[in-house]
Symmetry: C2
Amino acid sequence: MSAYQLLVTVQVIDEEVAKLLELKAQLGGDDGKQTFVLKTAKGTRDYNPKQMAIREKVFNTIVSCFKRHGAETIDTPVFELKETLTGKYGEDSKLIYDLKDQGGELLSLRYDLTVPFARYLAMNKITNIKRYHIAKVYRRDNPAMTRGRYREFYQCDFDIAGQYDPMIPDAECLKIVYEILSELDLGDFHIKVNDRRILDGMFAVCGVPDEKFRTICSTVDKLDKMLWEDVKNEMVKEKGLTEEAADQIGEYVSMQGGMDLAERLLHDPKLSQSKQACAGLTDMKQLFSYLQLFQITDKVVFDLSLARGLDYYTGVIYEAVLCQTLQAPTPAPAEQNGAVSGEEGGVSVGSVAGGGRYDGLVGMFDPKGRKVPCVGVSIGIERIFSIMEQKAELSAEKVRTTETQVLVASAQKNLLEERLRLTAELWNAGIKAELLYKKNPKLLTQLQHCEETGIPLVAILGEQELKDGVVKVRNVATREEVRKASQKRGWGNVCSAVEKIL
Amino acid sequence: MSAYQLLVTVQVIDEEVAKLLELKAQLGGDDGKQTFVLKTAKGTRDYNPKQMAIREKVFNTIVSCFKRHGAETIDTPVFELKETLTGKYGEDSKLIYDLKDQGGELLSLRYDLTVPFARYLAMNKITNIKRYHIAKVYRRDNPAMTRGRYREFYQCDFDIAGQYDPMIPDAECLKIVYEILSELDLGDFHIKVNDRRILDGMFAVCGVPDEKFRTICSTVDKLDKMLWEDVKNEMVKEKGLTEEAADQIGEYVSMQGGMDLAERLLHDPKLSQSKQACAGLTDMKQLFSYLQLFQITDKVVFDLSLARGLDYYTGVIYEAVLCQTLQAPTPAPAEQNGAVSGEEGGVSVGSVAGGGRYDGLVGMFDPKGRKVPCVGVSIGIERIFSIMEQKAELSAEKVRTTETQVLVASAQKNLLEERLRLTAELWNAGIKAELLYKKNPKLLTQLQHCEETGIPLVAILGEQELKDGVVKVRNVATREEVRKASQKRGWGNVCSAVEKIL
């Protein structure tokens, strides 16, 4: 059994035990008196220090990238007026958490970060901003927690709002995805790109009636999880498309390429009849020319099967996919089909980022319907966390949960005061230091603490050394006593010795 | 009118306008059709990029300090099972936000971080941890937003859990408060210290009946906002204490000092009759001896009037107070008296940190009542944010909301491709760079963007320079063209030139 499998099994057992304990509590416990259930709410979890250390590392990489690209950040409240969210998520609205009516306004927990962003822009009449926002969102979904799906989860969004020359901000979003996935070292990946206008043009020339564009688009979106035969079946049998139309779509959606494909399709006798498709294809060529300047075309594929779940996209769309996932268990197709569509919910296995252009959303909030064109990307941070956690589980290297550099220890009794004094001097010198909160801890206990928590150095105080005016500084891993520093009026020399070693 | 007053006035107007608009919406708007209200929920706010920049700076200082002291961090869900919070906050429970019953568990938004921490320790059977947790908490209070009080606000907690030798972790908490307030440079401050056991012993020897300890303690807690006469009145007239008892309390609570006061009170004929008081006074002496080793006694005062609002404290308590606040408006006493007690809510004007020892809380969650002694401190981060914002308003220096180091600009038309290529190379070299998303922006527009957003350098591409293989790098503030870097196969030289200048 692999470490990962073991982890999954333990999680399943924990969940089952929690369910049974809850049932027991409802039944009144052993002796008829109410038993208190110690658990977090369904679909939520605590992050322990190890998970937080991994989370911090991932956030640092991502935020550094956003800052490198000149982004600002904003924050919005965890709940919004219920009506702010109303009519933005279609069927998925049933997954919104409402707050209890306790008098006053009707409130709901945010479902994503995009709608609050659009509300923020409209409310503050902002027409230009490049911002990122990393925060938790809430969906009353039936979570498959063993696969890293939760009711409370992070979203990590970068968006550029403003009226600009075509495809320049769009290209930067793709560059950002490329940089982040490369730096996080998640293995090989590729980024699929398409354009809603190309899809719509394609539907039009293949004879799909206008009113079926969105629903056929949703079916096309399933191509990464279902075979073409099944997708076609859904189009024809469930959605009432003619077999001929479906077959024509089938030909297009099997196409993948780069700028050359865009060029070729601009001369496709059928597709070139659609103005929308031509606009999308011209922009696609432009996009690829910018991606060439950015030197990232090796990972980017123009893929006509990419559709994305959300309704609000109006132009270019993209999705980054890992080429091979670690030891993640393959989910049953039935479960996947039942998955909720949406930024995070509908992301397929292997998908770690996605986004696109949405030029109409801000206008929904503006009293005069003034539009602010936007393009953005959402990094699938929860999926990335689980991959990093798996990697950490499988790796021999221990994840440190503190950054402590030195433990101030003593070899004999009655040296607490000296330990406190030295520790304070280290803190004042900006060195990360700890001591055990015992008057007379054993040296072995102190060394074990270093080994358990990965503290690299231990400063050992002893009576003889104090008399001689020296402190031993030991490298915990090698057990070498790397330096003796003389002590005169305070511990300045020890501080600088420690600094030098670190 | 000062900048701060202006700010307050604008906020008040905004709030009033929002109220009126809401009313209008309820009435059906101008023409009978529902008008959509663009606002955040009552008592909440968005953070704009400037506020976020200040917030990030404050968090960095605080988190660095926590890490220097070897702390780990955890995170817990924003909502808990309702029963987890039940019976922990006394009367204030009415301020808890409940989620709507949408089937499944009954949930509430967290009211503070201490109860979720205790739940986490008990649930995971953790007996030793030093952790910090920075997160938002929720209270359905009537917020005075102009005074920086909100329904959604940050808490910033550091706690040490575990059975240790007396006063060592307690002293570290005070050292942390000292370090953070010094580093944030909020002006002079002092830290009041007391002990619940000393207070209880004092109440006992002054003849307060046992069952009145907590309520008299709450009255004493008002001494920083009310005159002794009024406090005494409340004790005698509202809470039924004898005048004699109140006067005896009055003598004690006027005492302030250091280790000497603790020593003197240990020999006080009355107070020394209480075992509890003696235990507290002995520990107070011990605490001061550690604070001397930490060299922080200059700011710490043993103050017998300090009581703290929360019921759960069992030993040492403390509160840090700014000696003078900036231009903050003095709140009306009536409002302050109506203030909710609790970690953040009850903090008096000028108070920026508080905490103490609570040895019983974790045991409330453990099925067998096993106790885990805890001591901790909560930094009054929202108060600190408003002070920093005021300082920023009053300061001539502009708050930067991005960290961009270079803008890649062009002096002529048709150089977009060159701009994109150089920008990408700067990004790849880890340099924070931007370009305007226009094909042919004017040089003036580009320079103005630098001045508005504080970008220090601009790399200017021109046709002649491209031919000559050079790039001008201009210092925006001094307008000096500080370096010309030659260009051969890519822009490596420009990157290193920019790095050198920065």
